[in-house]
């Protein structure tokens, strides 16, 4: 059968979103059920892809290529390699989880978060510090719109991860932005307005420069095709062509590179383009944050891997040292900043930046010329494998952590300050245990998924850039400090009497969190499950970078 699988995969949630949006506002359960069904179909599709993907080949598979606007060099060009497949899989896993987690948002007569508690809770304190807002707010109505947006977000993500032509890739890239904006804007916390706007503008600025850069490239080379462009870059033609087409030969390559870089750097995010992230993550409702951190933040790294590294290797080498410093800065600063936060979601948001910082470190390190290094290809392959694994692991772990915070928010009526709890391990032991596992996974404990990616990254980066690697370990240390502080403040110590009645995880909640937790163990113990699929892709990438 030669069905266009990838197109179908992308359009199922798109179509699902339309169906769900067409429901009435009162049909909450139906909307949720349908959204879940469509996202599960997406998951099934992704699993099918995974199964039929030929891991013994690093080439693009399931390729669909049709002329679209031939006069402009635009083709409809889809395909997956290990990298895309991994990201599609991650999207497919996280979306149903987020849909399931959002269940309680629209329950209850008043539509209020508080309504799900049987036990009467004392009125929570006012807004304090940075966003640890106390008052449970009634959720907005419009479950059908919420779920439709979620599905569209998923469709956009699928599209981004499978597109290989800049034109529709960019379309999907932007398509993701819109549902995300509305999800924050309409269902977010008290400061959702500014957070959503900041998020939107930030990413939009990045997108604009990205678009300009690609228009310049299109002008110079006549192609929008990532694969073709990468080949040209390998032959070193792009810079020359840019110089011919636009002039200002000395710097045009760098300029175009920076434009594209900004687009991805905002999305990842790289310090100092990250300030939108903590507030966006903190203000978005839990399930949306799960998607934002789980998958959307991977778009940036994906962009680096798919676009920036293959197309601009020359330019990256020119500015390698500052970029490495930027990566180290991202790792260390975000870890330190996380330690200073008092809001659980903001802590995790900074931790998220920190984790993606390791990806950046490895990305930049592998672009270097690697002179005088033993087996440079092997080190680069290790680092890139680490990056891919880290992306997947972080998606899993971070979304699980935000899921836990969401569950705790439900119990505390919206409170999620570091100092608001204390000793709740006594009343919610199962919750504590499972969240502890997720936290330790985030901390990089061996045996859980987080470690393998970080180890491979350090293994690869150290020979390529010893000082950067050594400095980055500071990030690992500070991560341990703030995560353990979180455990200490929230779960340990004498029980805060206010939460004496806090209910532990219900069975359905346990089933929900069991999925990511189980995956954490599986990937921690048997990382080959993922590495086996991506390794050849990585080898090919390394060859692409070697010239």
């Amino acid at each position: 059968m030669n069905l266009p699988w990838l197109t179908i995969l992308t359009f199922v949630p798109l179509f699902g979103g339309i169906v769900v949006a067409g429901l009435g506002a009162e049909q909450r359960r139906l909307a949720r059920g349908l959204a879940l069904a469509f996202s599960l179909v997406g998951l099934a599709g992704a699993l099918c892809l995974w199964k039929h993907f030929d891991a013994a080949s690093g080439d693009l598979q399931f390729v669909e290529k049709h002329d679209w606007v031939p006069s402009l060099g635009i083709q409809y060009f889809l395909g997956v390699d290990g990298l895309s497949l991994l990201m599609v899989m991650l999207t497919a896993i996280v979306t149903p989880l987020a849909v399931l987690a959002s269940g309680s948002m629209f329950d209850g007569k008043a539509g209020s978060l508080l309504a799900i508690h049987r036990s009467p809770l004392p009125a929570a304190g006012g807004v304090r510090g940075d966003g640890a807002h106390g008052v449970a707010r009634p959720t907005q109505g419009g479950a059908h719109i919420f779920y439709a947006l979620m599905l569209w977000l998923q469709a956009g993500l699928f599209g981004t991860f499978t597109a290989l032509n800049f034109f529709h890739w960019f379309l999907f890239w932007e398509l993701v932005l819109i549902p995300a904006f509305f999800l924050i804007k309409l269902w977010g916390g008290p400061k959702r307005g500014p957070a959503a706007t900041q998020f939107f503008i930030y990413t939009m600025v990045g997108s604009v420069t990205l678009l300009l850069s690609f228009l310049a490239i299109r002008l110079a080379t006549g192609s929008f095709d990532f694969i073709e462009l990468a080949d040209m870059a390998k032959r070193g033609e792009i810079t020359a062509k840019l110089g011919e087409a636009i002039g200002w030969k000395a710097h045009i390559g760098l300029l175009v590179f920076f434009g594209a870089f900004l687009g991805f750097a905002v999305k990842v995010p790289v310090v100092p383009f990250h300030t939108w992230l903590p507030s966006a993550y903190a203000e978005a409702p839990g399930p949306v944050t799960m998607l934002l951190t789980g998958v959307m933040s991977k778009m940036g790294v994906y962009g680096f891997l798919r676009v920036l590294l293959p197309i601009f290797p020359e330019q990256i080498r020119l500015v390698l040292t500052p970029l490495m410093w930027l990566a180290v800065l991202t790792i260390v600063l975000s870890a330190c900043a996380a330690f200073a936060q008092r809001d659980l979601k903001r802590i995790l948001a900074y931790s998220s930046i920190n984790h993606l910082g390791y990806c950046l470190l490895a990305l930049f390190a592998v672009t270097g010329a690697a002179t005088g290094v033993n087996q440079p290809e092997l080190q680069k392959a290790a680092a890139l494998n680490g990056v891919l694994l880290q992306m997947f692991n972080h998606g899993l772990t971070a979304s699980a952590l935000f899921l836990f915070v969401w569950l705790i928010e439900k119990r505390s009526g919206g409170l999620r300050g570091l100092e608001d709890f204390g000793g709740i391990r006594k009343v919610v032991p199962v919750f504590t245990g499972l969240m502890g596992i997720a936290l330790f996974s985030s901390l990089g404990l061996p045996g859980l998924n987080g470690f393998v990616g970080e180890f491979l990254i350090f293994k690869g980066v150290f020979p390529l850039a010893p000082w950067a690697a050594a400095l980055s370990t500071l990030g690992l240390l500070v991560t341990a400090i703030f995560l353990l502080t979180l455990i200490q403040r929230v779960f340990c110590g004498p029980l805060n009497g206010r939460w004496a009645q806090m209910p532990d995880l219900t069975l359905s909640e346990r089933a929900l969190v069991a999925v990511p937790i189980a995956l954490m163990f599986v990937l921690g113990i048997w990382p080959q499950l993922v590495l086996g699929v991506i390794d050849l892709t990585v080898v090919k990438m390394v060859q692409q970078l070697n010239f």
Partner: protein, 708 residues
């Protein structure tokens, strides 16, 4: 390959499985948990014995007996990363020690933790710990080693913070994890460096391992930027991991605090096995540490660092122990000090010297900790030695076993294991060509060890019982922390009784450990250095004359002299003149208040760290937060404001310049139109008139034009 070498993985997997099963079972199933944990440990111990006997059988064959097995774990760049395990004498001896001591402590815990509401969780963690520790022992791969090492750290964290509702326990757990993690990061870097240099992390692999000669030769000749051999640099980084785990200076601060955990935990983790993991690590990578180019001195920079750190830690911790009052803290500092000895032994004398002390220490320190647990238990959760006293008559068995442990630790000559192992270290230190200072530090440490142990025993077991039973539960701030105290009591404690002996389930392990604390020493005497031979793969002959060689004998006499001095001094100051009340100041405090204060506060290391590291970290966090909010965020705000400003400017221009002009134009046009429309008044004849006039004008114009 022997069956046991092939299946060595079973040893850690058994307790791991037990831990997993306990974890998913209900909290109330105490019996199941204890049975599973102890059962798996028994099996692990039997398998360890199997492994040990396998090495014994092959002992004396050519070279060191060593068998490795492995499996492919993950793949990158088309290459497999292999993990695996190794069976050699070092592994075998550690396996037996760890599994045996763990088993005894598990049994002891059944009694000690009997009434704790988290009994099952305790055994889950303990099993996990045992599994990870056994994993560390068998690992033939630095990565697998690191994995297990970190899990050991995790379980240590979980167990120190076992009574999580105590803020001090939660803080101590965090401190332990973070402090050891500092060292672990060094280990991680050392590991990736080693990996990059040698392309493998397997220790031994038929000549391709990273600890085998070909890899080592490459590393000693390869220089780093600082002019140091790569092997030395890597060795030092790895040693950093050992420093963290084994509580060496300057990362020792977590270990005394770790005594917040239940006593069996302190015994198992923070005395017998886990802290020894650091020593074991150094022993494991000893070939790397000692690798030196042909012709260079055998005392490599790495080993010199190990020696100095060990020696300084030994004397430092021993001196601190002198002024402590918490029974477990005294033992904790003693542990730190003894670990220093082990490092010293490794640095100056090689694997066998350090490991011998590790093994003997494991037994007598576990004995002492369990004994202290028994004491604490018997005294109703009292930990302050000043409030004890005279326990000899209340707890005779505990006293007897404790005394054996104390004498072993102090290094009482000839009959106790500690003497032989410590003597070997001092002997090696004496022969160290680089410097004699470590030797003197070691001797001073031995003296102090004997002194503080005598002090402790004198205060705890001799004299009169100083705490009235009525107040015992509330008499000190220390006990207040033990909110869980009540449920842990077994026996007929009614809240105000006198100290009592512990139940048999706690006593029996003590007795067994005491037996080993005496016997173990005889496998490594100078006359019969079987232990050295076993580890180094050489046959050991019995040679009594070695004992009476002038050098050996002299040193033995000297060290015995130090020990006796310490014992005598301790007895003279604390045993003879017993303090009468708990509040009385210490004898040393009276004599040397300033020194005592320094020691009592552990040289203010914690305070120094608080003032530097911790404060720096907090400062860095605030600074980064500030950067985020005001610098990066400020740039964003600035951009926002600039944008808003520009927008306002545009709006102003639009509204007051462009719009105004446009509006005026429109208005004029409209008014003009109105004016013009008056001409169209609908009167046909008026139009006609206009046409007529226009005609006339036109004609006149034409005529006029014609003329010009």
């Amino acid at each position: 390959m022997t069956w046991i070498a092939q299946n060595l993985w079973l040893i850690p997997v058994l307790p791991l499985a037990a831990s997993g099963v306990i974890a998913v079972n209900k909290q109330r199933q105490h019996k199941l948990a204890a049975t599973l944990a102890i059962g798996s440990m028994v099996l692990a111990f039997l398998l360890s014995l199997c492994a040990f006997s396998a090495t014994l059988i092959h002992h004396g064959e050519s070279g060191v007996f060593r068998e490795v097995a492995g499996f492919n774990w993950l793949q990158f760049g088309g290459q497999w990363l292999q993990l695996g395990w190794v069976l050699d004498p070092l592994t075998a001896i550690m396996l037996v020690m760890v599994s045996f001591v763990s088993l005894l402590i598990f049994i002891f815990s059944v009694g000690y933790m009997a009434h704790d509401e988290n009994f099952t969780r305790f055994f889950c963690f303990m099993s996990l710990f045992a599994a990870a520790m056994l994993g560390v022992v068998i690992a033939n791969n630095l990565l697998l080693f690191f994995v297990c090492w970190e899990i050991v750290g995790l379980t240590s964290y979980l167990l120190i913070g076992f009574w999580y509702h105590k803020p001090s326990a939660a803080a101590a757990a965090k401190k332990a994890f973070i402090t050891t993690r500092i060292g672990d990061l060094g280990l991680l870097l050392g590991m990736v460096w080693l990996y990059a240099e040698t392309g493998t992390l397997n220790f031994y692999a038929d000549g391709h391992g990273c600890l085998e000669s070909s890899a080592l030769t490459a590393m000693v000749t390869h220089m780093t930027a600082a002019g140091m051999a790569v092997s030395t640099a890597i060795g030092l980084l790895i040693f950093l991991g050992a420093v963290g785990k084994s509580g060496q200076l300057p990362l020792h601060v977590w270990l005394p605090d770790a005594m917040e955990g239940p006593t069996p935990v302190s015994a198992l983790i923070h005395a017998a096995t886990m802290v020894a993991a650091g020593v074991f690590l150094v022993a494991r990578v000893y070939p790397l540490m000692s690798a030196h180019p042909e012709g260079a001195a055998a005392e490599t920079a790495a080993l010199q660092v190990v020696t100095w750190v060990g020696a300084l830690t030994a004397i430092f911790a021993a001196s601190v122990a002198v002024a402590q009052t918490d029974i477990k803290r005294i033992l904790a500092y003693s542990t730190v000090s003894q670990l220093g000895y082990m490092m010293l032994g490794l640095g100056v004398g090689g694997v066998a010297v350090g490991m011998f002390h590790l093994i003997t220490h494991a037994f007598f320190k576990a004995l002492l900790f369990l004994g202290s647990g028994s004491v604490i238990h018997g005294c109703h959760e009292e930990q302050d030695v000043r409030k004890m006293g005279g326990l000899k008559k209340f707890m005779p068995v505990t006293f007897a076993t404790y005394a054996i442990g104390m004498l072993a630790l102090a290094g009482f000559p000839l009959f106790f294991s500690g003497f032989w192992s410590k003597d070997e270290i001092l002997h090696a230190a004496h022969g160290w060509p680089v410097s004699h200072i470590p030797f003197f530090l070691g001797c001073a440490g031995a003296l102090l060890t004997a002194f503080y142990m005598t002090r402790q025993v004198a205060l705890v077991f001799f004299g009169e019982y100083r705490s009235s039973g009525r107040q015992s539960a509330h008499s000190s701030s220390k006990t207040d922390k033990h909110e869980k105290s009540a449920p842990t009591h077994v026996g007929g404690y009614d809240g105000k009784g006198e100290p009592h002996e512990s139940p048999a389930v706690m006593i029996v392990p003590l007795v067994i450990l005491a037996v080993f604390a005496i016997l173990l020493g005889f496998v490594g005497t100078p006359a019969w250095p079987w232990f050295d031979g076993f580890l180094n793969g050489e046959p050991a002959g019995f040679n009594f004359s070695k004992l009476t060689e002038s050098g050996t004998l002299g040193l033995m006499l000297a060290s015995a002299g130090f020990v006796f001095t310490g014992l005598g001094l301790g007895w003279w100051l604390y045993g003879k003149r017993q303090r009468k009340t708990a509040e009385e100041p210490d004898v040393l405090q009276v004599a040397q208040p300033a020194v005592f204060r320094l020691l009592e506060n552990k040289y203010f290391v914690d305070e120094i760290y608080d003032a530097t590291g911790v404060r720096f970290n907090a400062w860095a966090a605030q600074a980064c937060d500030f950067l985020d909010r005001w610098i990066w965020g400020g740039v964003v705000m600035l951009v926002t404001w600039v944008t808003l400003g520009l927008s306002s400017l545009y709006r102003f221009t639009d509204e007051f310049v462009v719009d105004l002009g446009f509006d005026t134009g429109c208005e004029t046009l409209r008014e003009g139109g109105g004016e013009m429309s008056r001409w169209q008044n609908g009167r046909v004849q008026t139009y006609l008139r206009v046409i007529g006039v226009a005609l006339v004008v036109l004609v006149l114009f034409l005529i006029w034009g014609r003329k010009t």
